[in-house]
Amino acid sequence: MTRKWCLAPNLGSSRKEHSPDSPDSVPGTDLSMVSRRDWLNSFGLGFGGLALAEMLGRSSVAADARGDGASGVLGGFHHPPKAKRVIYLFQSGGPSQLDLYDRKPLLVEKTGEQLPDSVRGGQRLTGMSGNQSSIPLVGSPFSFAQYGESGAWISELLPHTAKVADRLCFIRTMYTESINHGPGVTFMQSGNQVPGRPSIGAWLDYGLGNEHDDLPSFVVLITKNKGGQPLMSHLWGAGFLPTKHQAVRFRSGADPVLYVNNPPGVSPENRRQVLDGLRQLHEHQFAGTPDAEITARIANYEMAFRMQASVPDVTDFADEPQSVLDLYGPDAKDPGTFAANCLLARRLAERGVRFIQLYHQDWDHHGGLKGGIAREAKQTDQPAAALVQDLAQRGMLDDTLVVWGGEFGRTNYCQGLYKPGQDFGRDHHPRCFTIWMAGGGIKPGTTYGETDDYGYNIVKDGVHVHDFHATMLHLLGIDHERLTYKFQGRRYRLTDVHGKIVKGILA
């Protein structure tokens, strides 16, 4: 028996030092073998005080309680954060900036005329309008007015948003690299057009950990019964980060979290008895096999029992006064609507959830824009404005960042033939679109960036998706260049090798 080959040089002797980029992904194993009592005492806590973060294999409960972001891989903030949490109201499909926020009288004037080549500048069009023989400009059929002391231009479709205009910062010059929905939404949510990178909330959970006892740090809420472009669960996934960093999606049905409720025939008292028996088994096992993984398991089951109370507590609006429900509008009592999700987002934010991601679909108005955009505006306008107002009334807007926006904008020209007086559509437009941000370190009552009179190109202060991400992380106390994870041979960031903080929108 001969061995034809021997050790390759890269498989030489073992390297002992711990690499910060290869965090322990075997939860529980980072705890040395100690007695259960020592283990609990070391935190000065009994089971009741153990945090979910600890159950998820994180390092320090005490750090969580301080809310200093120290339970994540960063071990604390890079600089003092302006925002402690984010509520991101994602409007999927590409809402038309030209009919909501970016007023262009020239387009109204030139409706029916061709988009000049000098404006288009060789922009590649989608397959949907790229072969049109005519690309006629079309102005917004909706009227605009200026609101608040800041004088923000807002369309008649958003009367409630108009009322909180002085609290918002409109960025008219967002731009992206993607011209279609799948890559576009994935880019906004993960900084890359191709699925596989961690979403924003996953990066935050990885970097800062979880501040709350019995709720996850990253929650997703989706408006129910919506059509339009599909959403996929990788949008709130952890990508190449450990799966524990992905969002927990709260559903609108009886079980907000998968199987959180006892099955039929099991009452809380009865469940308590069973858990006590299970704990005895685990304690007996721990006596013979003193492994911290077993104590972690015991604590997990206690935490699960508590979550059975805390999860329904956050999703049940019974304790909300009528005035608050009225603020969010008539849908607020109907779970799973955008209004109910906005209110639920505030309740989650109050309880320390760091990243609350809402999705509202069906802004993809290639045709029937007049009716379609009015419908989506009606469903979202009042709740989004109510959320800002509600947070402000509670003093929470100062450290809560609220974001409203989609994955790209829509064209200044009509998709298909333009027939005066009839409904029409707009195609996807990546070169400029409007989002708004509010609260958490954002300069209120501002409009940032300028687009040209055709609403086609950016004239001043463009904000790339990477810049948006860099700014969001900055507000959360993170240097976007220093939150990294090594995967397949190199280090990755949310902003990859890009991203500049948009100083002009900071308070």
Binding site: M1, W5, L7, A8, N10, L11, G12, S13, S14, R15, S22, S25, V26, P27, G28, T29, S32, M33, M55, L56, P195, G196, D214, M232, H234, G237, F240, P242, T243, K244, R251, D255, V257, L258, Y259, V260, P263, P264, G265, V266, N270, Q273, V274, G277, L278, L281, H282, H284, T289, P290, E293, I294, R297, N300, Y301, M303, A304, M307, Q488, G489
Partner: protein, 370 residues
Amino acid sequence: MIARDDLAEKPREIMVMRDLPQPKMAYILNRGDYDKRGEPVEPDTPAALPPFPADQPKNRLGLARWLVDPDHPLLARVTVNRLWQSLFGLGLVQSPEDLGSQSTRPEYPEVLDLLAWQFSHPVADGGLAWDMKRLVKTIMLSQTYRQRSIADPKTMADDPLNVWLARGPRHRLPAEMIRDGALAACGLLVEKVGGPPVKTYDMPESFKPEKADTGEALYRRSLYTFWRRTGPGPVLESFDVPKRVVCVAKRDTTNTPLHAFVLMNGPQFVEAARVLAERLLADYAGDADRALARAFEQLTNRSPDDEERQIVQTMYEKQLAWYRGHPEDAEKLVAIGATKRSEAIPVADVAAATAVINALMNYDGTVVKR
């Protein structure tokens, strides 16, 4: 042979891959744009790796032969490492996706090399001839694998990940094994091979809800559970099944309270516990003590010691008292799942045993390999 004939006869069309007579040219795409072609490129292997044999065709067959060429250790090392990882929870090289110059360095390169050499060489030379089963056997019969999973406190503290292999493996079972294990224990598991994907009880709870299937589809191995693109079934997903968005060579093994919800409240597990309860109470003529001891064995692969037996028995007595006092709850509990309940045993007895067996499905000894 009938099954094989079925395979050959039934499909109307079978996709076959073969090379075009004139292969299509591929090009460098400038900055990745599909319509910006640069220089044409030819198939070849990376220069840093062993050279592609001159006498082999530059197609998939040639690639396969290059991969399994016993003159280099690469494929064998990667394969052995992944199998080691699935048995120990951690590979000899901790970065199974990367055994290159930036990989995590192995504590025991000699072990990896020896196993890789054996795996890739013919039996006549003392090798295993790429036989996975023999490789599993080789590792599992080793003294290293058969060690106890707990070591002295100092070793545990100094080597929390068990890189030194001074103790045996200990890790939570992967999602599929947890579900399949519960189904196997209660006898509901359908071991049929092949066929289209099945929609389990949790499909209506998934992000893109689907109606659950009926009949044996509910009890097939988790391997056959339906996936929608990047969305695995919710039960499997909660136990760290990757979303299949990127290639994941090492799964996470989290330990979270969300697992408790699935195992204690999910209909798959409640039903499995009830079916096992009915079967064992029947087998042991209502002797709950013996029935539950047997359930313990089936779920954990060991007999309960006296104290465990006592704890389980006390749990049962309390549950029995509870369900005798709440017969309507007992009826509700035993009605969960599509498998019809057996009327032969009093409902409170079944409900009580169901609750205890379900608790055992949550026990460390059931879901953690030690």
